[in-house]
């Protein structure tokens, strides 16, 4: 007796709900094993994470701020993945966005004050968009593998950023980091630490939702992703769509960098590459490339991060526990996903012979 994995005739609705729930349970159990082996009580730890993420208004605010760059990167990656364009360069596009906004903030001093922030944000979109557009053009024109190019370009962007904040653009005082942006160009606060950038991101989510699900362009992207051959026969330009989608994808990641800098960090400095882009890939994938779903996944992962940071103090656990748990959440989900459109079938020896 053995099992084979067989394709279902159609996606199983039951499994679409069951798989995420079951994988979350498995993740929690696996996490418990890791925690127990370190003499930490899993239930206490999990409740400490929830407390750390949502325990007080201040903590909720912190979680929401943390969510913003994650959400933006998730949205960015989601667009590219629709075309089956494996953009893993959101990290670099985000960093380029921060470089773009810093450039305007620091050097375009002749601008009237009211124009600085809008133009700076626009520049972060342009920088990110260009950084995403390059692999898009390379793919469209010469079929250069996008996974490898976008991956490498992450590290090039990070290197450029380091060069800028360590030497070229370094503030006169201190070891590293540019000067702070002028205060009139910061993004204002909405509720405690939460800034207006969050509203901007939510508006973007709904614009994207509309574009992707209600317009011809979104329909074309979907068609290319599902069956590029059929799309070509329908007269859809795959090359043009790849370039456009990648400019928008990179631009959104860059804008994420811009918003986060204008609202939270206020300058380009160490830690600009905090892995938001990589987490963005997980968010896009876990949300099924749905912009609205991305909000919840991004919030969930942000809560996991802020909650785990609190564990250092409350449970005396290293902060790396957040990465462990993130990995543990993702792996069972990845593994279980096959059962949405596949099923396990037992084949007995006899049947096999007949077949």
């Amino acid at each position: 007796m053995r099992f084979v994995i067989e394709k279902r005739n159609q996606k199983s609705k039951r499994m679409q709900i069951l798989v995420p729930i079951l994988s979350l349970v498995i993740s929690a159990l696996l996490g418990a094993v890791v925690l127990l082996s370190c003499n930490a009580n899993p239930l206490q730890t999990y409740s400490a994470i929830i407390q750390g993420a949502f325990g007080s208004p201040m903590k909720i605010q912190y979680t929401i701020i943390k969510m913003l760059p994650l959400l933006m990167c998730g949205l960015s990656v989601g667009i590219a993945f629709r075309l089956k364009f494996w953009n893993i360069g959101a990290e670099g596009q985000y960093v380029m966005g921060v470089i773009g906004i810093t450039w305007v903030m620091q050097f375009w001093t002749w601008l009237p004050n009211v124009l600085v922030l809008p133009l700076a944000l626009l520049m972060s979109f342009i920088f990110g968009g260009l950084w995403g557009g390059i692999p898009g053009v390379l793919k469209a024109k010469w079929k250069v593998d996008e996974t490898l190019v976008t991956l490498m370009m992450n590290y090039i962007a990070i290197g450029i950023a380091e060069y800028l904040y360590i030497s070229a653009w370094k503030a006169p005082m201190g070891n590293m980091g540019t000067v702070k942006y002028p205060e009139f160009a910061w993004i204002g606060k909405l509720w405690g630490k939460v800034h207006y950038g969050v509203i901007l991101a939510l508006i973007l989510v709904f614009i994207l939702y509309f574009l992707l699900y209600k317009t011809r362009w979104g329909f074309e992207l979907n068609m290319i992703g599902k069956n590029s051959e059929a799309a070509r026969c329908q007269g859809v330009s795959i090359k043009r769509n790849i370039v456009i989608a990648m400019i928008i994808s990179g631009g959104i990641a860059g804008l994420g960098g811009g918003i986060n800098s204008a609202a939270v960090t206020h300058r380009l400095t160490m830690g600009v590459n905090s892995g938001y882009g990589f987490t963005g890939i997980l968010i896009a994938w876990m949300s099924g490339l749905n912009p609205i779903g991305s909000i919840f996944i991004a919030l969930f992962l942000a809560a996991l991060q802020t909650g785990s940071d609190a564990l250092q103090i409350t449970m005396k656990l290293p902060s790396a526990v957040s990465e462990v748990l993130q990995g543990l959440i993702l792996l069972p989900l990845l593994a279980g996903n096959i059962f949405i459109d596949h099923k396990l079938r037992r084949i007995d020896k006899q049947v096999k012979e007949v077949k």
């Binding site: 394709k7 490898l148 993130q326 792996l331 990845l334």
Partner: protein, 323 residues
Amino acid sequence: MDTIEFITKLLAATLAMGTSLTYATLGEVFTEKSGVLNLGVEGTMLMGALSGFTITYFTGSLALGLLFAIVTGALMSLIHAFITITLRANQVVSGLAITMFGTGLANFLGKKIGPITNGYNLIGLNLPVKFENINIPLLNKIPILGAFFDVSLLTYALYIILPLAWYYMYKTKFGLSLRAVGEAPRTAAAMGINVNKNRYIYTLFGGAFAGLGGAALSLCFTPSWNDGMTGGMGWIAIALVIFSTWNPAKVAIGTLIFGGITSLQFAIQAAGIKMVIPAQFLAIAPYFITVITLIFMTINAQKTNGHFASPSALGTSFAIDEK
């Protein structure tokens, strides 16, 4: 310091640093050649570095440390293999998850499994033994090239492993099967080759070598444990796989150049020479050169209608009953 002495020292530093990189790159070459893209190298190396260090610290045995690093590396890639080969999940996402999980787990365990005297922490501990450089008398006195004969056992091993790896891939029946499952899995299956079994084997092999590469850091190059001590080396390894055009014979060229660039930064600083090129630009050079290489290789392959170096089925899962 005269020029020859400077170059010899630079080469010695390059070899010491390049060893770990070479193991990881070579492993990933085999994995990718079979059609599996494993972006989990960074996390796998880190887990290898951790387990190698821990075992050697507590047992005082380098051999046991290496063995555990290899097994740990293979186990990490077993997760990737199971998820992407058996369960046909997206290789990019799975690899990233492995890196995230491995990095986190290694950093987490590094603060938990150390000796009580150090507060369960592994950071700041010294190993009872490490891989020392062994020199071959006379040969090590050759100007410049002498550096090749004053290295650790792990580097000497590479002098044998690299040619063997090339021979295995291009001159043996197994190598032919390996290339077939990465290039044309359907044809390979029709020829009676078990595609997924081959992919399992080489994914595990790649993980084992990534673990070994990590141990080469923590037992020889550094030798210590620190959070994220691989410092992006796993990503450079993935870049080097492209640079070497998936050919084991060219892996050493890539690691020498890129290990050299990194060592050059330190050597120039140590020699007190004023830097003309900012250090950050030297650091991104490997990635930059890789992108350029990739673009030229791709365009060239299309112009000549020739065969592109990257395995055609890289990144795709295989099931006999599905397209």
